[in-house]
Subunit: 311 residues, 4 copies
């Protein structure tokens, strides 16, 4: 039965699996690795899985563009949760390998910039070969094709390797953000520390279109968290924007901003309102005065009185 | 009975009376002149009159501040109609007076700047004495206190004077705008060429407060017609704003803008939605794409679908 | 010789004279009252006077529109100083008059709204007659034409009257602002607490023109102090704006804002940079980060390095 | 000697080489392929090469983030030219291979989304294996490790393969944009159809920081072409922005905008002003009134007159 299964970007032993295992709702599920982000998401679209965990952003490499594009233009899905995972790599080797014996290293292409400085410093002569995933790199070390693989330490056991060095990460605070997606449904109730994701197409490239988009948020006091431009595939210079803002679609300031975007942009896709990882309502900065739900209700009451001649 | 009476800024024979007589609804009313704008408006507030016509703006002198302030801070009233009247003065004299015999001229202080150039050119030595109204000036000519009065030509007969020169106005297109006000009630239905008036207080003098006020209109594509700052009486540097915009309070873009103002400003007073004088729906420029009522409905429908997981 | 004389809006005994006497530079001048704002200013334009003091803004009545319009469209003049004067009226009567004996009162039309509540409370039946000035009202009391005049207490002695009631002002903090104007010349050096005045014409009534005007200030972190719309005389709906901002024309953020206005508006008239009355540099709120002269110099240096390939 | 050599992202036979060969200045150079964007750029930094061509943006996949990041945070380089290349893939196979015999296909990861639909349609069962480059994929086909490689048709001859299918591209108008970079120097003279690239860091995540950035451009009438957020590596939520705008650093509106950014942002890196590929001055849309160099000069002259009392 579909609802018993979660898919994730595999193979086993990647950071994505580690992220998925932090979710309480994953504890009772069958966790199924798949080979690509599209495959992971298609399993949800077809009903084979109830949910899917995929990486969406990395504090070193930036957006995981396949995920952004799948959510923006593939068959509709919705985000229900996010997970933040600190990223640190282990250099996995076959038992007995020493640092001096490493001529070739591998890992997912996204891993490379996160270990570049470490490599330049400690293994300046090692040649980098990209693998389809960090776990796949580990497998290639296991098979003797490569000498070392950058992967999560948790992958060592799976492939019979040992972590020669751990805690490798060029940037402080390296993190990857993952999202749990499912078929579109009613968003979960607001927690007070939520975010709302949309994909927005700009109608033409008239100067100022991006400013107008941002003003729909700003004038209602809705703070942006992230904005990412993505090509629409219609040629250089045509973009859609992936935008996360603070707040929940049921917050009046957020819903009015979303309707504003819907009116002035040729297309807006709602991608979900969900709890912000690592935050509670107490961590959320105050919104601008006049933008609480109570303020909206007061203003609507006043307008009704005006319409009745009792303003 | 109150509903049979309209008051106006008198005395008889002023432009205000002329403006009032252009209104079809005035034909069946008793028209009562009163001595001051506050008196005219108080007659409505007390129920002695069903409506009152007062000047609010002059294309030469600017706002009639007493009217603005009465509407902003006096007991609530609402604007139901506006009248635009082209302004041209006649120089009224006692029969037989010639231009060379005129040593003193009079008129309402507001008339002075509108005839200043004419005076400098034709009667450079005449001394100006202000009168309480143009009609009062005519009366003073009648009584022999002054030699000539600037007033509407229509006032000559009332005071037994003759128009020595007519069509006097320094500025081309000189106009005065009058408003018909009554007790607050349901605004008239939109005509497609309407305007909406409000008085708005800014909370503190934080830089950018005026910009924020204007953005509430701009982001919804609501065009401004007029903005006027007025002191709040709380000291130099504290202002309230009198603002007219295009559209009717029942237009969704207008009502959303008004609610936005209500939320971010400490006080907003709705002063009415009413037909624009001299315009029909055909004269109104297009609003920004995405700001029609249909656009608002479409966006609200979309939001509801998002909330239901069918976005 | 012209430089020995200052003109002011007379007659003697008005608040304008009192304001002028607060200026150290007035101590050694011949102070000449004149009958109207245009006359006062024309004396400077013709070289008869070195400077002129005129009221420009009143915390109750708002802008003194004649002054604004003369500065905006008359022969060019520049503002060199401003004076703030608290306003309180005395009710001046002929010796022996009691409150109960007052049937008619007078004063300048601007005085009326400032004593309206007091009148309603204490002399509800007294009839108001406007005078050309508060001092002229006092003269009319002296001559027996009217029973009481609202004027500055200092006017009593001049006209042989006595102040029956003093300290009359409906609004707390009632103030009038006066400006000392002269022929255009190099502005005085900045004091650290300055303001800059301009008159700005908007090119057409395209929606958003006012926003664009404000943004020229805002984007350079220049705070507005006052904005006033004035009709251009070309018909209802055509305005020019009188704007005061914080800072001195020699401040880089101010000069860049002024040049921005000059570029996008059909006409801008510089009306002066001068010390803010009642403020020192210590009272001035911080400007937005990145808008000090030092920031401008740093940025210009950087740009030059970029142009040289050393960015 | 360094100036005789251009490096490019190799290996031979990639689209980058094809793009480089479109540049007249490449005709007389030694063209040296290198294995990675950092290696290509380091050759310029070290003086081994006079210039380097690297891909920076793809109309399907979006930004080439390694290039953006190298330009933003690596040792300073400057962009001198851009090249737009239409992208269409050929499916390269060993001579004799038929479509039905293809079980595995390869190509650079960036190629995959551009042929995804074609694969789903024509080779739904073929397994994708990423290669380090399209040319490397061709080499793997040559060596028999994979059955087919997606690459430029021009690569077939290099690897002894034949193009089984040509003109493959899922998206219409698929293009890649490349930039020619060199050591920082004086930018080339403006052509009238130029663009200017910068990397901009936002100081903190205060809401509205991005709006302020955009307003520095907008208020001077400088149109944006592209904006891309990139993580700063300091944790999720910290971004720098890669921005291309219309115009040349020597245009006054552009230089004033850049100085504005420099003042309000903690860091701005100028990345070059260079001709826009495929455009001439005739193709450039008009800038906003008041933003030409002549307008800036006029405004500066006016300001100087104001400072001299001749405004």
């Amino acid at each position: 039965m579909s609802s018993s299964r979660f898919t994730y970007l595999g193979p086993e032993g990647t950071f994505t699996e580690a992220a998925l295992r932090t979710l309480p709702e994953a504890a009772t599920r069958e966790l199924v690795p798949m080979v690509s982000v599209p495959a992971v998401l298609d399993a949800v679209r077809s009903g084979e899985a109830a949910g899917a965990l995929v990486p969406i952003e990395n504090s070193v490499e930036g957006a995981v563009t396949t995920t952004l594009d799948e959510l923006a233009v593939g068959e509709p899905l919705m985000i229900y949760r996010e997970v933040l995972l600190p990223i640190a790599f282990a250099l996995l080797v076959r038992p007995g390998t020493e640092l001096s014996g490493i001529k070739t290293v591998t890992g997912h292409p996204v891993a490379q910039p996160q270990v570049r400085k470490w490599l330049a410093d400690r293994l300046p002569d090692a040649e980098w070969e990209s693998s389809a995933s960090n776990a796949d790199g580990a497998r290639r070390v296991q098979e003797g094709q490569v000498d070392g693989a950058f992967a999560g330490e948790f992958a060592a056991a799976v492939y019979g390797l040992e972590p020669l060095v751990t805690g490798i990460h060029d940037a402080q605070n390296a993190q990857t953000r993952f999202v749990l997606v499912g078929l579109p449904a009613r968003p979960a109730a607001p927690t007070g520390a939520d975010k709302t994701s949309v994909a927005i197409w700009l109608g033409d490239d008239h100067p100022g279109a991006l400013m107008e988009l941002l003003q729909e948020y700003a004038v209602r006091g809705v703070n942006l968290i992230r904005i990412e431009s993505r090509p629409t595939g219609e040629g250089i210079g045509r973009y859609c924007f992936s935008v996360d803002c603070e707040g929940h679609i049921t917050d009046r300031r957020v819903s009015e901003a979303l309707m504003g975007l819907k009116r002035i942009c040729p297309a807006v896709r709602f991608l979900g309102s969900y709890p912000r990882a690592g935050m509670t309502a107490a961590d959320v900065r105050d919104t601008r005065p006049g933008t609480s739900d109570a303020d909206f209700v007061t203003a609507a009451d006043w307008l009704n009185r005006c319409l009745d001649g009792r303003g």
